[in-house]
């Protein structure tokens, strides 16, 4: 497949007061890829997602999706263009059932309740949550909440899916299961940009990773190459030492 950029960030910067959370960041995600966005705590990963999805407007720079500059679009418009996202702190509609939650997403492309229900059930099967469809979202376990978060976004039929630490907080067995789910989604034709704090999981999934630290890109490339990059090692080791000191 020729490399067609589905998403492209060009020199994107955002400042919160004095803090530069994302600093002159450029990278692309090609159609059909799984790209990992990694970096230590507070590096600016979630902020990048908020910039892409229209929650924040960049102070500088452009964001292209499908060749169109999407800077300035509202979050719902970005979703309508074909970018789905999950939230690091999951946001279920707690008092409603799992099926209801996913149907909300599925209504993006239909006004018909039956069509929406069928679509939602299909998505629930894909993420392995079908057996929980009648449960209230607030009663789900962590792993199922994460799956629900993915299912909701997936129900909007995105071309690009942004996953924010969907593996965090899962035990090793659950991580493996979730990795299979993500691979299944990818095989279904969805391009994926995923944030992972845990390097290993990101490496297992991604064909390419972008590493950021203090809002700046410090490395980019195939996983094995990036893990040997001295700057990356320093960023992560520095963090570990930092954590040890506390």
């Amino acid at each position: 497949m020729p490399h067609r950029a589905l998403l492209e960030l060009r020199n994107v910067t955002i400042k919160f007061g004095g803090l530069i959370a994302v600093n002159d960041l450029s990278f692309t995600v090609n159609e059909g890829e799984i790209v990992g966005l990694i970096g230590p705590n507070g590096a600016g990963k979630t902020t990048v997602f908020n910039l892409i999805s229209g929650v924040y407007r960049p102070t500088k720079g452009e964001i292209y999706f499908n060749g169109e500059n999407i800077v300035g679009l509202k979050p719902y418009q970005v979703c309508q263009k074909g970018i789905g996202r999950t939230f690091q702190l999951v946001k279920p509609f707690g008092n409603k059932t799992v099926l209801y939650n996913v149907m909300v997403g599925a209504f993006l492309h239909t006004n018909n309740t039956h069509v929406s229900r069928e679509k939602a059930l299909e998505v629930l099967k894909l993420v392995g949550l079908h057996h929980r469809k009648d449960m209230l979202a607030k009663n789900l376990t962590i792993v199922d909440r994460k799956k629900l978060e993915v299912a909701k976004a997936l129900a909007t039929e995105p071309k690009l899916l942004l996953l924010d630490e969907v593996l965090a907080g899962l035990n090793p067995a659950e991580v493996n299961e979730a990795i299979e789910v993500i691979k299944r989604i990818h095989r279904a034709g969805v391009t994926i940009l995923l944030i992972e704090h845990v390097l290993k999981a990101a490496m297992a999934l991604s064909q390419r990773v972008v590493v950021i630290d203090y809002g700046r890109k410090i490395a980019e490339g195939p996983p094995e190459e990036v893990t040997n990059n001295p700057e990356v090692i320093k960023a992560y080791l520095g963090e570990r030492y930092g954590a040890a000191r506390n």
Partner: protein, 336 residues
């Protein structure tokens, strides 16, 4: 027909038939008036619920829409001879337009700020009504209020000597509104309103234009409140800005909906029914203490918010399911 054999279908049908049959047993105008008022409050709480419950936007200014509907139809009738049957639509549209105009600048406000803004608009409107005695040549009465010309028995102008037609009119309006709300609840709009209420950021991320959905809910809700206002005007035939556009009206609607069960189809109506009856009883028993019923409503709101946030409807649901199960089991035995 087979469907009708299930208690899930025939019980509501029976209940509706009973509501229609009530005037056959109740002849006293006093009680008929109370019954009409009970349905009026049930109707108002249901109308408020579209924006206050489904969309979760706490509007504390619905009195303004009631007044907009009531004054529109009444002035059109008094000065242009337009029948309130037609005025009901115009009144609803004027109220709906007001709901839209109030909704537009307040879209981006969340929580308490939205509530405050609605209070501001409604109070502003009440003050305007109180201080405006004329619109051009039309006398509106200002603080003194506005009397609707009495024609005696004039069905073509929605005036009746008997209370029975009023009862049937509000019953039909109420049933139509409940059906509409039921439809909204199960439709895309209902799902979107729920998403907005539960988590606006999550709703936005799923492609929902939450501003537009809010505006639709606010406009619909105001429209139906306005239609209710026209009915109120015809029943009472006297419009007083403080009573109809003021906090007594606005807050009471909210109390009923919250105690009944905000965001459910039938909860607000149930709240309207139960609280208005309690209110009437306290008014009769403690007639020397004015406003006691409002105090009681306030107390009930506090108790429900703390102990039963889902409202009275929760009791009814339990009762309902038991009854349906009981009936279904009995029928099962009969069949066997």
């Amino acid at each position: 027909m087979a469907r009708l054999a299930s208690p899930r279908y025939y019980l509501p049908v029976l209940l509706i038939l009973l509501l229609f049959a009530l005037p056959l047993f109740v002849k006293s105008p006093y009680y008929l008036h109370i019954m009409a008022m009970v349905l009026f409050w049930a109707y108002m709480a249901t109308a408020w619920n579209i924006v206050g419950g489904f969309a979760g936007q706490l509007s504390l200014g619905h009195g303004a829409y009631v007044a907009a509907g009531a004054y529109t139809s009444s002035l059109l009738f008094a000065y242009l001879g337009i029948s309130p049957w037609f005025g009901m639509f115009i009144g609803g549209l004027v109220a709906g337009l007001m709901g839209f105009l109030v909704g537009y600048p307040t879209l981006r406000l969340r929580g308490a700020y939205y509530a405050l803004a609605t209070v501001g608009f409604a109070e502003g409107f009440r003050v305007i009504l109180t201080n405006t005695t004329h619109i051009g040549k039309w006398k509106t009465g200002g603080a003194e209020g506005f009397m609707i010309p009495l024609l005696g028995n004039a069905p073509q102008h929605m005036q009746f000597i008997s209370k029975v037609p009023y009862y049937y009119l509000i019953l039909v309006l109420f049933l139509i509104l409940v059906l509409i709300c039921r439809w909204i609840d199960g439709s895309k709009l209902g799902y979107y309103l729920t998403a907005l209420r539960e988590d606006e950021d999550a709703a936005l991320a799923l492609g929902i234009n939450t501003a537009r959905v809010k505006l639709v809910a606010a406009t619909l809700s105001a429209f139906f409140a306005g239609v209710g206002g026209v009915f109120y005007a015809q029943l009472i035939r006297y419009l007083e800005p403080n009573a109809i556009a003021g906090p007594i009206m606005s807050n009471q609607i909210v109390f009923l909906a919250i105690v009944g069960g905000r965001g459910t189809v039938l909860g607000p109506a149930l709240g309207g029914l139960v609280l208005t009856l309690i209110g009437e009883i306290t008014r009769v028993v403690f007639n020397q203490i004015m406003g006691l019923h409002l105090f009681l409503y306030g107390l009930l709101v506090v108790l429900f918010v703390i102990f039963k946030p889902r409202g009275l409807i929760e009791f009814l649901e339990v009762l309902w399911n038991r009854l349906v199960n009981l009936l279904e089991r009995r029928e099962g035995k009969h069949a066997a």
